[in-house]
Subunit: 259 residues, 2 copies
DNA sequence: ACAAAAGTGTTGTCAATACACCCATGT
DNA sequence: ACATGGGTGTATTGACAACACTTTTGT
């Protein structure tokens, strides 16, 4: 973001207190702060058929109008807890994948109807038992390949959800470089080829299998061998199985070729 | 963040609509969403005397209670604009440095009095004309070296502001690796030694000057030479002056030694 | 049954690159 | 004293070749 965009001069130094108007609440004359609606939106990413996909929900009363799963945050609810709850609601699965806060969007840029701030979360999930469960009245959810969002004929997204998805995808692509989060896209046990295909799908590139193997195995805590092999499926040498290790960062990172 | 922490079962699927309760607003029976107070908090970082420092404000009625500058967001105000306004309020300078959103904190973890969500912003600034201007009634602001925050005798921070500062410092340290943002800590024109001292102060390490020079100059768009030199100050060969270039990322990055 | 072919995963080699460490020179 | 330029050894990486294990296909 470029440096401070020129602020509205009428607003500068409106507060006498540099701590902000929040400080007034400690005084004798308590003012009620402006309250706004806070919602949580989820960017759920997974790999399906070798393509990076995001879960979008088709709104009931708006044909061809797609939105991210999410909803309002309860007043006393923790943001992370709210996001975790919405994740279970939308997918029906629990205890798998990775969930982290992405960014908060808000202010004038949003549609008047949904004015307020939206705290976006990013989740990386293995290929779920599709389609996600549909309780009664639950709108239809579809996994959209992220490349199709920009293409003609793609879904029309609500409010600023397209921007949120773009940010989430870029965050995921970047995090693959310096964290072992690629394993969050895989099942509990996976092969190095599975892991490599995560990178290839997310980055849209081809990776050299031997080099990838060397890199992953030489990074302590990235993966740990299970000691078993895949049962041969359709031909080819059975691959060794791995689980994700305890590393939280990759040193040195697994960098993308050029950007 | 580990996978979805076990959500409150009583809450799961409380909504019949997977889009979330937000969807109800499009129906005939409009419910008022729970509204909470949204504030903006700023982590302002700069370099002073070779140390990375953060600006803290001493609250009026609470001795030894320090807080980040910030305040409530107006209902119709853009988050980024609000942060930019607070930045000018706190420092008195405009159009310099770098400002970006850091993360949003909220929910139960916050003090009851300041319940609600706080959108934290991170600013990287050159050494400002110190101390920051003090209009009447403005509480005293001090630049605290970030190492002293963890040391005994350091400031006692309000609410979760210590966590916010830690996150902001780590974000800044990480961003120095793969972006040219180190220049945001410098004046408009700077020497490569100035730039190197940014890295050394932020990371708490010593860097080899020749290697650093090679690395920076070989990264296109990191810095551009001005064509002048510093007037010799106190002995030593005058250094060439540079401005920051137009690059937005460093490829390959300038990695920290081990983490 | 047997052999050959094809598909997949694993191991090994080599060159190009990037980097840490050190020395030399100019002002 | 400090900025700048150059040199050398080591570690990492990219490209590619070779090998191992399995299924499929043909005779």
């Amino acid at each position: 973001m470029p440096p401070a965009s020129p602020p509205d001069p009428a607003r500068v130094s409106r507060d006498a207190d540099a701590v902000g108007d929040r400080g007034r609440r400690h005084g004798s004359a308590t003012v009620t702060p402006p309250a706004v609606a806070v919602s949580v939106d989820l960017v759920l990413l997974t790999l399906r058929a070798g393509r990076l996909c995001v879960l979008l929900i088709q709104r009931a009363r708006r044909p061809a109008d797609w939105a991210l799963p999410g909803g309002f945050v309860d007043g006393d609810e923790d943001l992370d807890a709210s996001a975790a709850r919405r994740l279970v609601d939308a997918t029906g699965v629990t205890g798998t994948g990775h969930l982290e806060q992405l960014r908060t969007y808000g202010g004038q840029r949003r549609e008047p109807l949904t004015c307020g701030v939206s705290v976006a979360y990013l989740a990386l999930l293995p290929n779920l038992p599709q389609p996600p469960p549909r309780p009664a009245r639950r709108p239809d959810g579809h996994w959209w390949p992220v490349e199709e969002l920009a293409a003609p004929g793609g879904p029309i997204l609500a409010v600023d959800h397209r921007r949120i998805v773009i940010d989430g995808v870029e965050r995921a692509r970047a995090k693959l470089e310096y964290t072992p989060l690629a394993a969050a896209f895989c099942e509990d046990e996976f092969t190095l080829a599975d892991l490599r295909r995560v990178y290839e799908a997310a980055w849209g590139v081809g990776l050299d299998a031997p080099n990838f193997r060397r890199k992953v195995l030489s990074t302590p805590g990235f993966v740990v061998p299970v000691g078993r092999r895949t049962s041969p499926r359709g031909g080819g040498r059975p691959a060794e199985l791995y689980r994700r290790g305890m590393a939280t960062a990759l040193h040195p990172p697994l960098l993308r070729r050029s950007v």
